[in-house]
Structure formats: structure tokens, C-alpha cells
């Protein structure tokens, strides 16, 4: 199992460092096959014009059979985008990161999905119940069972 995850991540790593890497996506840090940091920008006329975000991917040995744990980085340098599906601690409510995950998906595929989620946003606001969620949220967003009220993400 470990070998599948290593082979897959090696391949995705190569892809992210080549000219096949999607526009607006940049691999910032990938020291091992456990945690990657990726810069993400939304291009064109959107509510997030000129804003820069970072995504943290955490992989377990079962990747890509099990989904990666993905969240926006929140630190001195980065903030989570103000979006109805993004909690202020960086956790994201998106079905492809949970039930909708397919082992055919990949790191670039997730990045592009999240880019499009931001691009289609019409109103910058936090999800309902943000404060309560953030107070009790587990460290790993995969431990949260999100309800997907919107099947476009």
C-alpha cells in the first residue's frame, strides 16, 4: 500500500513541478510524502482578485484510496479565504474531500476544484456556525462529517 502512495505522490510531485502544473497553483513545500504546502491564487475577475492563499495537504499511507486531509493554512502569513464553505480555521466543506473523493482524483485536481469553488463565490462570508465549529473542531478536518448543502463543490 505504501508503495502505491509513494508512486502516486512522486508522479504528482513531478507534475506540479512541470509546465503541466495548473495556472495559479505552486508547490511551496514537499519535504516528504506526508505533508505538502501549495500556494493557490484565483485568476481573472473574482472576489479574491490579488489574494494569495496556501493549502496544506496531509497524506496517509492509504492515499489515494483514502482522501488527503486538505485545509487552508492559517498563520502569520496566510489567512483562510472568506467563503461560505471555508471555516476561519482553514477547514473546508467540500464533498470531494470527503464522501465524493475518488482515488482517481489527485493533488492538482483538488487544487483546481478549490480554485473554481472560490471563483464561483458571489458573497464573501463565513459558513453558518463558524465560531461554534472552530471552537470544537478536530485538528484533522477528515474527522468532521460535513453536510454538503451544495453539490457544486
Amino acid at each position: 500500500m505504501g508503495s502505491i502512495s509513494a508512486r502516486r505522490l512522486a508522479k504528482e510531485y513531478k507534475e506540479l513541478n512541470s509546465d503541466e502544473c495548473p495556472v495559479g497553483i505552486k508547490l511551496l513545500q514537499a519535504d516528504d510524502f506526508e505533508t505538502w504546502i501549495i500556494a493557490i491564487e484565483v485568476l481573472g475577475e473574482t472576489l479574491y482578485k490579488d489574494e494569495k492563499f496556501a493549502l496544506k495537504f496531509r497524506f496517509d499511507p492509504q492515499y489515494p484510496i483514502s482522501s488527503p486531509a486538505v485545509q487552508f493554512v492559517v498563520d502569520e502569513k496566510y489567512q483562510a479565504p472568506l467563503h461560505p464553505h471555508v471555516y476561519s480555521n482553514g477547514h473546508i466543506c467540500a464533498s470531494i474531500l470527503g464522501e465524493g473523493w475518488s482515488p482517481v482524483l489527485s493533488v492538482p485536481a483538488v487544487c483546481v476544484t478549490l480554485q473554481s469553488m472560490l471563483a464561483s463565490c458571489k458573497k464573501k462570508e463565513r459558513p453558518e456556525g463558524n465560531d461554534r465549529y472552530v471552537r470544537f473542531a478536530p485538528d484533522n478536518p477528515k474527522k468532521t462529517k460535513f453536510m454538503y448543502d451544495d453539490d457544486t463543490v
Binding site: M1, I4, R7, R8, K11, E12, E15, E20, C21, P22, V23, Q62, P64, I65, S66, A94, I96, G100, S102, P103, V104, L105, S106, P108, A109, V110, V112, T113, L114, Q115, S116, M117, A119, D151, T152, V153
Partner: protein, 573 residues
């Protein structure tokens, strides 16, 4: 509920009721089932109890092994597959999709088999719109990579499960999925990219993946997620793997396939209100109890059941409480547990196993189940529960179980009232928690008793079988402490009045009997008194058993007669 009985002689009223119901019986046949549902049910119970097969506080139930439930499942699957003319794999998926509701499935299938087959993951969806949208890279790649294996119509398949990756792809992003295998090269699995894998598998959709990836995926779904619906691994496909596919893929991992079968059994059981899966860890038995299947039935019965694996797998069929919560009905038991949880901090100190002697203030630790305490230092004898002198507990006028409501009546201001209500709660909670604690300490009691039984064998000429009376006594004490525990939850919510007083009389009698027997169990053994001890203990065990029976029987009858009036509005009553 009880108002009917307030003005008349109770016994006479009961007879009237029975006659009424019998008279009604004859008319029933003319009236529709729905209208008479509640009464018909009451009739059932009364008729049942008069049969004498079981006690009035017991329910009829049947334990089923996993195989037996699987036979039920097979019957349904075979039925559906024969009337629709489809294979059993598809029939099973359709039934699972409809939560095993055969009637509804037949109705829906007759109406529109295509859409139901798609929704259940049996077949792929046809293209939804003929409009020439931009095909996403994922799709075109996926179809080209597997085109060889597909029928032409499948290459344009489209389902409702869309990812934003797909939509994003429309806005001309470059590659967003792992690179597709080259059209003409050997098959490369799009998950592991391991081109040495030679065996590939696909569901009817034709999405091919290597056998090893399928195996890992299916195992992870079953083992880690406990999911029996195993969807195709492709992003845009909602086909679900039929049993035969799962079985053949897991051909060398029988344990995982067994777990898969158990998950399906659990799903079937959870969809059938007549069935409940045994809640004990790693037990795979099911209990069938149709008489407790409806919510309304739980207003008059406490369906305590146990599975065929072990009589210790005792649970309530009507609610999630593990164990036996007779005599109190589910809704009141739940109310009480909720209250205890909400007030846990206030009441926590009571649960502690040490208290101070009210005479000499030395610390006293409770290490047995008996409530008759003697201070080691000053020899003061008192009751652990109320801390009152023990001498008063044997007298007829003293009742440790009944709450003295004087302070509540006298309370004038809000503060005094709230203190009185807390005191009232603590009275019941104290006794409730004490019986629970004492029942837990019975593990020690078991060990102690076993040692005593060995001693007795040595010091007397009794055989091992003959010393079993001590063990029987321990069993009975533990069982009755459970009953007593729940009687305090019941008494807390019972409205004041004659009925409650009679209930508390029964409670007091059982409690005294239990405490007596408990004390006897802790008494020292002298070789010369063993025959007397044996006689005494056997007699007391029988008496305790009888008191327990009386209490359970009376409460159960009270439910059927609508005799219990509650202090609160109880769900479903």
C-alpha cells in the same frame, strides 16, 4: 390516563375493562385496521398475558443468528429477482437502495425501472442533455483509456455526480488529473500507475482499474468506513459493486467478505422495525420482537430482550439503553438519564465511595454492596444512603426510600423552591446511584462468595453443587439492585397519590429484602452454623425473588391499566 379509575373501586373497574374489550373484539372485524390499531394492540397484550406463557412484565422475542437473517435477506432478494427477471446482484442493490422496503420497490420499479436502476447504482445513466458541452479532460481521458473495453454508448456516459474539477476543466485549465495512459501502450492503472499490473477489473460501466487497487479500495471501504455500498472508483461514476464482484475480488480475504456480509445484515436489520442488532461488542446476533416494534407499544411495555449468544447480552429493544431498565418505560428512563447527565456535577460527590461518620467524623469507606454500615472507630451503625441510624430501618414506620416532601410544601420564595427541588432530585439520584454502585461492587462480592463457597466445602460436608445457594443469592441481589435502581427513576417522575404510595411500598419491601440478603452474604462463616446459614440464605433468596416479581408484575399491569400518572409530559404518552 389514570383519571378513569379515580372514583371507583379498582378491581371492579379492571373487570369492566376486560369485558368491554372482549365485546369490542367482535365488532372489530367490521372496522378498518387503522382505526382500531391502538385498541387491537392492547387486546393482543391482554390476550397474550392470559395465555400464561410468559410473565406480564416480559415480552415475546426470538433471537436470530446472522445466518438466519441472511436467509431472510436471500428470500427477499430471490423474490425480487424472480418477479423482475433480474439477477440477484441487481435485486440486492435495488433492495438496499429502497431500504429493504419490498412493496415500495415494486411500486417504483413498475413506474420507472430505468431511473431506479440508475439511482440504485445498478446501471449507468444515459447522457442527460444532448447539448455539445466542452468535454472535460477527465472524461475524455477516462473514456479513451478504457474505450477498448466499453460498448460505444458507454463512452458518453454522464452521471449526476459532478466534481468541480470537471467544471473547472471547462474553463480551460490544463491537466487536472493524473496523466492518462497512452492510447496504444499497455494498460496503466490510473490509480497506482503501476504498469506491471496485468489483471484489470471493471464494473459494467467499463471503468478499469487494476485488481490490486480494487482490492485495497474495497477492503478500505469495508474495514475502515464500514460501508457496504462500494461505488466505482472513477470520479464521475455512481455504479455500485454487486455482491458477486465484491466476493470475487476478495476471494483470498474471507474475513473481510464476512464483515461485508455482516454490514449488509446490519443494514437490513436497521431498516426493519421488528428487528434489532445485539449491541454487545462483536456480537452478530439479532433479536426479533414484533410486539415492541411500534412507538405506541412502548408506552405500556418495557421490552427487555437478550440474544442467543449469551443471556448476559441483555438490552432494551425499545431504546438504546444497554441492559434491563424495568420497571420504568423507555421514554421515562431516557428522560431520567438526560437529567442525570445535565446535573452530573451537582450530584457527583454522592458517587464517591467514602463518607464521614456522622458521630465521630472519621472517614468510612464502602467496599461491599450492603448499606448497613458500622463505623470501625465508634461502632455507630447507620444507613449508607440516608446516613440515618440503622436501628430505625427495620421498623415499620421508617422508610428510607420515600422522599419526605415537607420542605417543598413550605418553600415560599424561589430560592427555597429551587433548593427543595434539588433536594428532591438528590434524594432519588442518591438511591439510584447507590444501587448502581452496589451492583458494580458485586464483582467483588462474587469473588468473596466464591472463596466462601470453597471454605464451606472444606469445613462442612456439602458438595460443590450444594454450596451454589450462595452464588444464586449473589445473582439475585445484583438483578434486584438493577430493578431497584430504575424504580428510583420511576418514582422521581410519578405524580403524587395513592398509586405512587403503593409503588413505593413495593419498592421499600424489595429494598429491605435485598439489603437483608446482602447483609447475610457478608456475614462471617462459622462451620457449625453453615446449615442454618444455608437455610436462611435460600429462604431469603426466594423471598427477594418473590418481591421482585411482585414489583415488576404490578408495574407492568399498571401500564396496561393506565394506572400510572406522571409528573411530567412524557414523550409518546
Amino acid at each position: 390516563m389514570s383519571s378513569d379509575y379515580e372514583f371507583s373501586d379498582e378491581d371492579a373497574e379492571y373487570y369492566d375493562e376486560d369485558e368491554d374489550m372482549e365485546a369490542q373484539d367482535d365488532e372489530d372485524s367490521a372496522i378498518s385496521d387503522d382505526e382500531m390499531d391502538a385498541d387491537a394492540f392492547k387486546d393482543d397484550l391482554i390476550v397474550d398475558s392470559s395465555r400464561g406463557k410468559r410473565k406480564v412484565y416480559e415480552v415475546d422475542f426470538e433471537s436470530m443468528s446472522q445466518d438466519a437473517v441472511q436467509a431472510l435477506i436471500k428470500k427477499d432478494v430471490d423474490h425480487i429477482s424472480s418477479i423482475f427477471g433480474i439477477d440477484s446482484g441487481a435485486a440486492s442493490l435495488l433492495l438496499r437502495h429502497m431500504n429493504w422496503n419490498k412493496e415500495k420497490l415494486i411500486e417504483k420499479y413498475m413506474d420507472n425501472p430505468t431511473s431506479l436502476n440508475i439511482a440504485a447504482g445498478v446501471t449507468v445513466a444515459p447522457p442527460p442533455t444532448p447539448s455539445p458541452t466542452v468535454t472535460s479532460p477527465i472524461r475524455s481521458q477516462a473514456s479513451s483509456s478504457t474505450a477498448r473495453a466499453k460498448s460505444p454508448s458507454v463512452t458518453t456516459k454522464r452521471t449526476t455526480r459532478r466534481t468541480a474539477a470537471e467544471q473547472a476543466a471547462k474553463s480551460k485549465s490544463p491537466v487536472i488529473a493524473p496523466e492518462p495512459p497512452k492510447e496504444l501502450g499497455p494498460f496503466v492503472c490510473p490509480i497506482c500507475f503501476d504498469d506491471t499490473q496485468t489483471i484489470t477489473l471493471a464494473l459494467p460501466c467499463g471503468d478499469q482499474f487494476c485488481e490490486s487497487c480494487w482490492k485495497i479500495f474495497i477492503t478500505s471501504k469495508i474495514r475502515d468506513e464500514g460501508d457496504h455500498c462500494i461505488r466505482c472508483m472513477a470520479t464521475d461514476c455512481s455504479l455500485i459493486a454487486p455482491d458477486s464482484f465484491v466476493q470475487s475480488t476478495l476471494s483470498d480475504d474471507h474475513a473481510t467478505f464476512e464483515r461485508y456480509e455482516e454490514l449488509i445484515v446490519r443494514h437490513f436489520v436497521s431498516c426493519n422495525s421488528n428487528l434489532k442488532f445485539c449491541p454487545y461488542p462483536s456480537c452478530t446476533h439479532t433479536v426479533s420482537c414484533p410486539s415492541a416494534a411500534s412507538k405506541s407499544s412502548l408506552a405500556t411495555i418495557v421490552p427487555t430482550v437478550y440474544c442467543g449468544a449469551s443471556a448476559t447480552h441483555r438490552f432494551c429493544f425499545g431504546c438504546p439503553i444497554d441492559g434491563d431498565h424495568r420497571p420504568v418505560i423507555c421514554s421515562v428512563a431516557k428522560l431520567w438519564l438526560k437529567k442525570c447527565q445535565d446535573d452530573s456535577e451537582t450530584a457527583n460527590w454522592i458517587k464517591s465511595n467514602t463518607k464521614e461518620c456522622s458521630k465521630c467524623q472519621s472517614t468510612i469507606e464502602k467496599n461491599g454492596g450492603c448499606n448497613h454500615m458500622t463505623c470501625k472507630k465508634c461502632k455507630y451503625e447507620f444507613c449508607w444512603v440516608c446516613m440515618g441510624p440503622w436501628t430505625e430501618h427495620g421498623t415499620a414506620w421508617y422508610s428510607c426510600n420515600r422522599y419526605d416532601d415537607k420542605s417543598g410544601v413550605e418553600a415560599r420564595d424561589a430560592q427555597a423552591r429551587s433548593r427543595a427541588s434539588l433536594e428532591r432530585y438528590l434524594h432519588y439520584y442518591n438511591r439510584w446511584a447507590n444501587h448502581e454502585q452496589s451492583a458494580k461492587l458485586s464483582v467483588d462480592l462474587y469473588a468473596k462468595t466464591e472463596k466462601k463457597m470453597e471454605e464451606m466445602q472444606i469445613t462442612s460436608d456439602l458438595t460443590w453443587i450444594e454450596v451454589q445457594f450462595a452464588k444464586k443469592a449473589v445473582d439475585e441481589v445484583e438483578k434486584c439492585r438493577m430493578t431497584l435502581k430504575w424504580t428510583y427513576a420511576m418514582a422521581y417522575y410519578l405524580a403524587k397519590g395513592n398509586e405512587k404510595e403503593m409503588f413505593e411500598d413495593n419498592q421499600r419491601d424489595l429494598e429491605r429484602a435485598v439489603e437483608d440478603l446482602s447483609e447475610l452474604l457478608e456475614s462471617p462463616i462459622e462451620p457449625e452454623t453453615i446449615p442454618t446459614l444455608r437455610q436462611k440464605m435460600t429462604d431469603k433468596t426466594v423471598y427477594v425473588q418473590k418481591r421482585n416479581e411482585i414489583l415488576l408484575e404490578d408495574t407492568a399491569k399498571g401500564y396496561l391499566d393506565g394506572r400510572w400518572a406522571w409528573d411530567v409530559t412524557v414523550d409518546g404518552l
